[in-house]
């Protein structure tokens, strides 16, 4: 193995795989290093895969990738203790030749993506943890050290796709520590059922159609957080995540939230008699735009979760990981072709490419959301409860006249938030955060 590469990529998640694939495909010599025994062994996702980001890298992925189901129906449920108020959107238009969203299981998916990276010509080593960056006398990053015996591995540029904990970059002082208010802890179970049962319970036509449900309200027990229930081919992914700072305040164990969710009357029948074959936990960066660290310097670039690229409002992460990975790789490839060094000044083009893409536009759009939710937790509890109460009085047929019912419903809303002024302010804040 030659000891000097055009690029070293740390990590074989969606960000690292996208970066390594694009550079190798363009003819660069690439070394990719992953600490898991296989790619995906350490990785967790809901998981919804957004096709567009992957299609731009591997157009024919649908023929090969281990996909579970394509999403034909989206549900959003607002839970209180015993109810859910829901929005369902199902369309036959989602049964298209090139569906836009799929459910996946990350371990097999990452293994497949990593196999494509090898096919593209990159050298890939697993079972190996990168322990630090190597710098030259001018403080430029020129390679990495690993927990394997041997000399440091050298390259013109190191692409850090090391995920949310990002120890390598953190220890090297490239970015600050994670703030508990800017990171969520999520737990998830993969619950197995037969293919037929999944189809029956979710009204699905075939083995390829799927439903995804986003859960809000009581699922987070008053904390800033959400839950999800996604259908895979013969299993259901059920999970919940909340800000770590909120877990610290409430002292509620994350797995207790998951137990509550499994027992919720709206969820329990969907997973009944299922067999849990895995319980996992992972952090999600939720700091948004303002938490994005420095993304490039002399000889290094940051992609994916390590750079805080998650849009929590839309539950996007893997697509941002793939897109940042691709744009970083394209930057390096262009510099190579132009015969330019991977200096901080030249790598700044990566940031420019991000600014022009949907990535930074979306990150900036929701800039205010993390702060607003953190400081207004009632938005996630008061309203779901008030809505549930309103639905109850609306649907129950009794001897109360309809006008009196409407008055009572409005009164309950006002009471729930202590007056119309507060409700107006809440609406304003949310509208601003969404603008």
């Amino acid at each position: 193995m030659s000891q000097h590469f055009d690029a070293i990529v740390v990590g074989a998640g969606p960000a690292g795989n996208a970066a390594a694939y694009v550079m190798a495909k363009a003819g660069l010599s690439v070394l990719q290093i992953e600490r898991g025994e296989t790619a995906g062994a350490k990785n967790v996702q809901g998981a919804i895969l957004y096709a567009d980001a992957l299609e731009r890298i591997i157009p024919e992925f649908r023929d090969e990738a281990p996909l579970e189901r394509h999403v034909v129906e989206q549900r959003v449920w607002l839970l209180d203790e015993r109810s859910h108020t829901g929005m369902h959107y199902r369309s036959d238009a989602f049964n298209e030749d090139r569906p836009n969203r799929y459910t996946i299981l990350r371990a097999p998916f990452d293994q497949w993506f990593a196999s494509k990276v090898r096919e593209a010509g990159a050298v890939q080593i697993t079972d190996t943890t990168v322990t630090g960056l190597v710098r030259d006398d001018d403080n430029r990053v020129i390679g990495v050290e690993t927990d394997r015996d041997g000399a440091p591995l050298l390259a013109d540029v190191v692409v850090l796709g090391e995920g949310v904990n990002g120890l390598v970059g953190r220890r090297a002082g490239l970015r600050p520590e994670l703030d508990p208010a800017h990171v969520a802890l999520a737990v998830k179970e993969t619950i197995f059922l037969s293919e037929e049962v999944v189809q029956e319970r979710f009204n699905l036509e075939g083995e390829d159609d799927g439903v995804v449900i986003e859960l809000m309200g009581d699922v987070s027990a008053g904390m800033v957080g959400t839950g999800f229930l996604y259908t895979n081919r013969e299993s259901i992914s059920l999970g919940v995540g909340c800000l770590l700072a909120n877990f610290q305040e409430t002292q509620i164990p994350a797995y207790v939230l998951l137990d509550r969710l499994k027992a919720h009357p709206s969820v329990a029948p969907l997973i009944r008699d299922g067999e849990t074959r895995e319980y996992v936990a992972h952090l999600i960066p939720e700091g948004g735009y303002d938490a994005i660290p420095r993304l490039a310097g002399d000889g290094w670039l940051v992609v994916g979760d390590a750079g805080q690229f998650v849009n929590s409002a839309h539950r996007e992460g893997s697509n941002l990981a793939m897109t940042t990975g691709r744009l970083a790789a394209e930057t390096v490839v262009a510099l190579k072709h132009e015969g330019l060094a991977c200096s901080a000044a030249h790598l700044a083009r990566y940031r420019q490419a991000l600014e022009q893409s949907f990535v930074m536009k979306d990150m900036r759009k929701y800039r205010r959301l993390p702060g607003i939710l953190h400081n207004n937790k009632h938005l996630l509890t008061t309203y779901p409860r008030a809505i549930s109460q309103a639905m109850q009085s609306f649907l129950r047929v009794d001897d109360v006249d309809k006008r009196a019912k409407e008055r009572r419903m409005l009164g309950q809303f006002r009471q729930a938030r202590g007056g119309w002024r507060h409700i107006f302010m809440d609406a304003l804040k949310m509208a601003r955060a969404w603008r």
Binding site: A41, A47, L167, Q248, D259, A263, H264, A281
Partner: protein
């Protein structure tokens, strides 16, 4: 269902919850270590409830103990105790630790 005010209790033992997970234990090389102070900080104590794998427990005289069985390498304890310096956290050596089958 419990209200958010009182802290509810788990319905399943942690060993059962983690039973189906796969690990390759690196005997003699714990990847997380406690650097004890005279008194355990509130942050460290909170990990008894916060660690999703139940690796932290309170034993005799209220001191917090760490047993890495079942650790999913999430990093929660690392982030929570970064300011107190009571935890030394690194990844397991390459190939060791948790190996998710589905993720």
């Amino acid at each position: 269902m419990t209200s958010s005010n009182d802290v509810p209790v788990p319905t399943q033992r942690m060993e059962e919850r983690l039973y189906t997970n796969r690990y390759l234990v690196d005997e003699g090389h714990p990847h997380v270590r406690l650097r004890r102070r005279a008194i355990d900080s509130d942050e460290l104590k909170s990990l008894v409830r916060l660690c999703p794998a139940g690796c932290y427990s309170k034993v005799e005289r209220g001191r917090v103990e760490l047993s890495l069985d079942g650790c999913m390498e999430c990093g929660t304890c690392r982030v929570v105790c970064q300011a107190t310096g009571e935890i030394e956290w690194s990844y397991p050596r390459g190939g060791f630790g948790v190996a998710f089958k589905f993720g």
